[in-house]
Amino acid sequence: MAGVDEFARALEDTPGGGVVLTSIDAISNWARGHSLWIMPMGTACCAMELIAASFSRFDFDRHGSIPRPDPRHTDVMVVAGTITKKMAPSVKLLWEQMPEPKWCVAMGNCAVSGGIFHHDTYSVIRGVDEFLPVDVYIAGCPPRPESLQDALLRLREKVRSESISPSRRRTVEGLLPLPGGEKR
């Protein structure tokens, strides 16, 4: 549907177009991976660590990431904090309003699985991957700012595996099994 899909298909069909395709992929993945602007969906304590990671001691500006308030300016949504059932439609709408290519990072135990609120609560969503496609999970309650930086660097590796042509996309093998036991 988008112009880029037809362009990629045209490149694949022409002889020698593969070289152009891989070069374009390399350059655009490098550019995207090294300038991941963040949508800070910080609702609770993890937001404090997110803010700390953006300040001078830990500084993710040196990785090319800055927090932006508008979803239309961002590449990554970092869900940092507990998401309640009342908040979930807002998070979903903001995710929909982000333009492609976009990724999602679940920061902290509450965003990964509901955290300490997994049991005995009536109002907390148990893990933001119930309604968002999460790319990187960060464990911790709250995780240290260095963990968030590590997550951004792993996301950069994942971005490097993407491609404008669907047949060339690879999946990045995760280090740990996903919540729920599946391995992707």
Partner: protein
């Protein structure tokens, strides 16, 4: 030997004849101006072109909805606007054009009494218009 004239640090090489001044019609400066006009436009078109080819544009109704921190939009942003905005804009355009004309004329009439009288007549007509607008209440904010 072609004499070289230094002007402001730059060296002008031009076709000269003995006795005449230097004429600045070298091909280099023409290319410079063309580059200055075309270069930024070409760069912009290159960036937009790359974006048009490579950007994954998949618009949808939800994606284009107005941003209001995740909640559905409350009310429409179209509302009646004070008419004075357009009145002030109109007056500004007229007097701005007058000011430009005055600047253009000023350097020519400097020093001559007849010129000053002509400019005074011109300004007087426009002052009459301003006085009319003033009396009609166009300069007041509240209608």
């Amino acid at each position: 030997m072609v004499p070289q004239v230094r002007e402001g640090g730059a060296v002008l090489r031009g076709l000269t004849a003995p006795g005449k001044g230097v004429r600045v019609t070298s091909a280099d400066s023409v290319w410079f101006v063309v580059g200055l006009a075309v270069g930024p436009v070409a760069f912009l078109l290159l960036l937009l072109g790359i974006n048009a080819v490579l950007a994954p544009s998949r618009p949808s109704a939800l994606k284009s909805s107005p941003y209001e921190c995740g909640i559905p939009q409350a009310g429409s942003p179209w509302c009646p606007v004070n008419i004075r905005f357009s009145t002030v804009a109109l007056l500004f355009v007229i007097f701005d054009a007058e000011a430009v004309l005055l600047f253009a004329v000023a350097s020519r009439v400097r020093g001559s009494v007849v010129g000053a009288a002509e400019v005074a007549v011109f300004t007087g007509f426009l002052a009459l218009g301003l006085f009319y607008a003033w009396k009609k209440g166009a300069l007041k904010w509240q209608a």
